[in-house]
Symmetry: C2
Subunit: 91 residues, 2 copies
C-alpha cells in the first residue's frame, strides 16, 4: 500500500493539489472541470494515473499538464498519492 | 442541463447502477474497482462518458461493457445520467 504522508507531500509539491485541491474536494467551475478525488478508491486512482501517463486516457487538463507531470513520477509515487486522496474525507 | 429523474431511470435501466450503485456510492472490492460517482460534477461525468464511447479513454470494465453500453446512448442521455449522479449525496 501507498504512504499517505508522502502522498500528501507529493500532491502538494506537484500539480495535483493545484487543480484537485489539497484534500481532493476542489469544486469545478464552468472554466475548470475537475473530478472530486477525496475518498476515491486508491486502486482506481492508481489505474487512472497510469492511464494518463501511458496515454490510454485522453488528458483534458490544460496543455496536457497532468500527463506530463505524471510521467515524471513512478508507480510508488502513484500509490502514495492515491493512498493520500483515498484517505481524505468526502464533503 | 440534464434531467436527473430521467437520469435515474436510465442509470437503473442500464448497467450504470449495477457497478456504480443506484446512488453512485458503490464501494470497490479487490475484484471490482469502481470510482464513486455521487456528487461528481455533471460536466466531468459527461466528458468521461463521451471519452469512453469514443474510445479516447480505455474502458477497464469487464468485457468493455461500459463503452458498449454508452455507445447505445446519446449526449442527451449522458446529460440526464450525469445530472442524476451529480445530485446524489456523497458518503
Amino acid at each position: 500500500d501507498g504512504d499517505p504522508a508522502n502522498g500528501k507531500k507529493l500532491a502538494q509539491g506537484s500539480m495535483c493539489a493545484r487543480c484537485h485541491g489539497v484534500d481532493g474536494n476542489a469544486r469545478s467551475t464552468s472554466l475548470h472541470v475537475v473530478p472530486l478525488l477525496a475518498g476515491q478508491p486508491a486502486a482506481y486512482l492508481i489505474q487512472e494515473m497510469k492511464n494518463y501517463a501511458e496515454g490510454t486516457r485522453v488528458d483534458s487538463s490544460k496543455n496536457g499538464q497532468m500527463a506530463k507531470e505524471l510521467r515524471l513520477l513512478g508507480e510508488a509515487e502513484y500509490a502514495d498519492i492515491a493512498a493520500y486522496y483515498e484517505s481524505q474525507k468526502r464533503y
